[in-house]
Symmetry: C2
Subunit: 500 residues, 2 copies
């Protein structure tokens, strides 16, 4: 093998992998957006086979020989090539530990689990989901043991979501946040509640679709390569490459803000998906640095942009045009206060910025205890409800609004939830850095998001998966991660709103 | 190799093929339904690679060895296995003649051609589509020469749509139909025209979606495994197997009948896709016998069911409920006459039963002359318009309503159009056979389509691809194909409507 040949093979392998990821991504995306309801088993059939093909492609003797050759010659490779080889070799060494049959069967099970979750959520019948949830956690324990024997399974999955993350780091982070957030929430609860009547009423779906379109335009999302669809639980994905990105949302006709903010959240993911360096398309560098980094961008647009006074000022007239009756006699300040109402609630994706972390903590604790074998699957609903009572003071009326609300476990995503909170805190620190060179408040007030997105693109998006998360954060922060950026932001903002 | 091993390999190969067809089908389906507009090149990237993988799977030495072994032992195989081996070997022998690079590049080109067609149609700008149309026909000539050197390219593509079909057979069929249809159309044109005001007006898309749902229910289509989406040019496909079928339609808000009849047409395809014997799922027998047979079913539900007095009687109250204002003071007979109005027009998929064949003839003649090199691509619009003037007496105002109206050429489908007319005529003969044992008119009048579909399932659908088209037709007809079944049907029906 020559270096030239190996380099060519490296690019061909990645090109082929991207086609297979496009295939499984397309089948999955269809499955959770437009597919008829009785077709999960059919998808599972195809996905299992395609997953097996991906397994073989990632671990074949040819792939190994090429990667090991390039790894030996890494001094002669570009930084990007070195990173490609590193990521692919790491993937190979992990994947080959997992028996192929188990790998395929796990994929098949996940598709059925995801379908069972949807049915269970629709009917608030945990029993439908229970056996699948058991399988998900059993598989997660098994996969952790296979891939990193001796490592705590929870740490394994935290590290899987974000290289370098573990429960000690999460504990420290959550402790720092809780210390500030719990008293803040308590102080707010003693103040008169804001009026949020502007976001409640009747908002027909076809009008909310117009809102989504307006929001995508305001965010500067190129609709020629980013589509939007509806689903049970919003998510974002790319199909094949940065050149085809899909965001999703879910409309509720009694309020428009959840869909609007899910479009901003998924739109943040979407922008990150769309703007790695162009030359990373069809390579393993075409993506986000880590789950937390991804959530830093989604939560940035959802909250730091979307829930800012400036953005509200600019979106208000557009919303008033779409919903003239609902907005009659209202002011931008009414809307600003309504979308920033702090109130412990049942649903994570509708939670305010202050209590959001508490929703994450419930999931974090339950996952930890389930992976440690301390909690049986059948006890999850009761534990969930007890923790919501304890952490948020609310009573869960049914499992749809309780432990069935999120799609993650049904999709095999364990260890993911903390990345929402971490990402939110990273985002606050990005915002602080951004303000060193940009007058962010003025830009938001003028409705000019382009320089804000240009900053994110320059500092984060363009690098795709070139860096480890810790490297990238260090590079952007020019110092250590500091959760007080987030808690300071919360205190300043909500003292103003609630007159504390 | 033992027979047991080879049989197992045969089933594994087909299972894997179905997963790959699911993948490319899903990417294609997404591309023409929900995908953002600027993503065709991205799909082309993945599709080219997946097409290459399919090529390798279909023609690998292992595949060949297994198929040839089973072919030598065919006496020991079931009828279904024999047919699987036959179809796969035939495919292998054809595919291996085509260089893999050409095979992949053709697929890539088709995706871009399909996208260019859509853009050209939207703007009525033939120039956008022209270079792609050139490539499509160039490739079609080249593929015919590669696969069947010495065979007339037009015959090659007719035979590709329907095994055993050629231009001589088509000529004879079209001559027989024209002989009856042209005088019938002329006689009708001399009579007072029927009033079709009931189908014109304002019919909002969201209400037409309700109509589609009603029609699918009336047709007995199981929505748990058959979905519906919107697209530029309606089509039907299955994804992976009979267990996931998708029909599509296109809504025009100034009339509801084109969408309603496209749902019936595609629903006919959909039923055929859904009901091959269950054990054929994930094998090459899971599909339709031929394109003409497929069109026999789509046109059967569209016309023999959908445009019958009985069906209209039963759908009328449902439509009147959805469109109360438009239907006020109207009777089922008004609707029956409106949807059976005979009038030479511009658009094939909106054509009445009498003049439909003339639309097909235009395309048939143009394809024949293009493949023979007698017509240059740049001359197509003019030739199209001249033939519409000549055959149908109408003036084509622009290419969107002219040679850009159909998606077929942009999808590389050449030699396909005659199957619509042949299928329509097969359907008429099926109807005649069906009437020997079923009181079809009474069933339609009672709105009971179940026995009609049971007949189609028993005689046609269940066999999937088990038989050659000629075998299956012979089996169902219990005699030769007789186009007068179709022309007799037309004469009887339209003499009644127009009082000839």
């Amino acid at each position: 093998m020559t270096l030239t040949e190996a380099r060519k093979q490296l690019m061909e392998l990645q090109s082929k992998l991207s086609a297979y990821y496009h295939a499984v991504g397309s089948i999955h995306y269809d499955g959770v957006t437009g597919a008829p309801r009785g077709t999960a088993k059919n998808r599972a059939h195809s996905m299992t086979i395609l997953t097996g093909e991906l397994y073989k492609l990632n671990t074949s003797p040819e792939t190994r020989a090429m990667l090991e050759y390039l790894d030996e010659h890494k001094a002669e490779l570009s930084q990007a090539e070195q990173r490609m080889v590193h990521l692919l070799l790491k993937g190979l060494r992990k994947t080959e530990k997992i028996p192929m049959d188990f790998f395929m069967e796990h994929r098949r099970m996940i598709i059925e689990a995801s379908d069972a979750w949807r049915r269970a959520k629709e009917t608030s019948d945990f029993a439908i989901f229970k056996p699948y949830l058991q399988r998900v956690f059993d598989d997660c324990v098994k996969l952790a043991e296979i891939c990193e024997p001796g490592m705590d399974p929870f740490d394994y999955w935290l590290n899987d979501s974000e290289e370098g993350l573990n429960s000690a780091k999460c504990d420290a982070f959550f402790a720092a946040v809780k210390e500030k957030v719990v008293p803040l929430a308590r102080a707010i609860s003693e103040k008169p509640q804001v009026d949020d009547s502007i976001i409640n009423g009747y908002f027909p779906e076809y009008k909310q679709r117009q809102v989504s379109s307006v929001i995508m335009d305001m965010m500067g999302i190129d609709k020629d390569r980013c589509g939007i669809a509806t689903t049970e639980h919003p998510f974002t994905t790319s199909l094949g490459s940065q050149n085809d990105v899909r965001i999703t949302t879910h409309y509720y006709e009694n309020t428009f803000s959840p869909a609007m903010y899910s479009v901003m959240h998924e739109g943040g993911h979407g922008l990150y998906f769309m703007y790695p360096a162009e030359e990373y398309a069809y390579t393993v560098l075409d993506g986000g640095c880590s789950m937390s980094l991804h959530e830093s961008q989604s939560r940035f647009y959802e909250n730091y942009v979307g829930r800012s006074r400036g953005f509200i000022k600019n979106v208000f007239p557009k919303l008033a045009e779409i919903f003239p009756e609902n907005f009659e006699g209202k002011t931008p300040e009414d809307l600003y206060r309504a979308v920033n109402k702090v109130e412990p609630g049942l649903i994570r994706i509708r939670a305010d910025e202050v209590t959001y972390t508490l929703h994450i903590l419930v999931r974090y604790e339950i996952e930890r205890r389930m992976l440690a074998g301390e909690v049986k699957i059948g006890e999850v609903p009761e534990l969930w409800n007890a923790m919501y009572k304890d952490y948020l003071g609310v009573t869960v009326p049914n499992d749809t609004m309780g432990c069935l609300q999120d799609s993650h476990w049904g999709s095999g995503q364990v260890g993911y939830f903390p990345t929402y909170s971490l990402g939110t805190a990273y985002g606050a620190q990005f915002l602080k850095k951004m303000k060193e060179t940009l007058d962010v408040d003025r830009l938001l007030d003028e409705g000019d998001l382009a320089p804000i997105s240009a900053w994110n693109r320059e500092h984060i998006w363009q690098y795709g998966r070139l860096y480890e998360p810790e490297e990238l954060l260090e590079k952007v922060f020019e110092g250590p991660f500091d959760p007080t950026c987030f808690t300071d932001y919360l205190e300043k903002k909500y003292k103003d709103i609630y007159g504390l």
